[in-house]
Symmetry: C2
Subunit: 115 residues, 2 copies
């Protein structure tokens, strides 16, 4: 069993094109021994956003704090703390902070299969 | 994209032997179209606990609220909101509420592979 205190994990800026005011902390992934999927903690400053993009793997998101817009092909949906979001593989998506304070969410992704 | 409001998902009692004062909400799993792993939200009443058990799949846990003891072969570790826990496959484990209020945590597990 490994315990990771999220405040002790370095917040790295999200540098993908289209991202703004976003950081990510990798809480549980390969270095911790996670076999199948990774847990990351994102924080969006006011006005912050993740990139509007798509990729062939899913996201499972849980909103921890704040208010955000979850954007997909069918437009934005407001989400707040306690909401879970499933982004399916190849769905275009984006999270935008829609509040005055920080927005924080977990975003889990599958890890690549080992050869 | 699917948005699930956790308060609108029914809390089911955890009936495994050894569980006490514990409920689970399945937020994202097969019915929502999750391809690889499932997100569940557990709540432990004061004095509540999950069973002390082991199984051949991992857990990725994130403490949302309260104080709990994460128990493994090497004893209990206190965890609070913001802590992440990786329980490896076949590790014996248990979560016990160690506070006066409810303890809430996410617990994600891999889904069985399709045949």
């Amino acid at each position: 069993m490994k315990v990771v205190h999220s405040a002790e994990v370095a917040a790295q800026p999200v540098t993908d094109e289209g991202a703004r005011g976003a950081t990510v902390r990798w809480l549980l992934s390969c270095p911790e021994g996670a076999p199948n999927f990774a847990m990351r903690l994102f924080e969006l400053a006011p006005g912050g956003r993740t990139p509007l993009h798509r990729h062939p793997w899913e996201h499972e998101v849980y909103i921890l704090q704040g208010t955000a817009e979850a954007v997909s092909e069918s437009g934005p949906v407001e989400v707040t703390a306690g909401d879970a979001i499933l982004v399916l593989p190849d769905e275009r998506h984006q999270l935008r902070n829609a509040g005055d304070g920080a927005a924080r969410f977990l975003c889990l992704i599958p890890l690549p299969e080992e050869d």
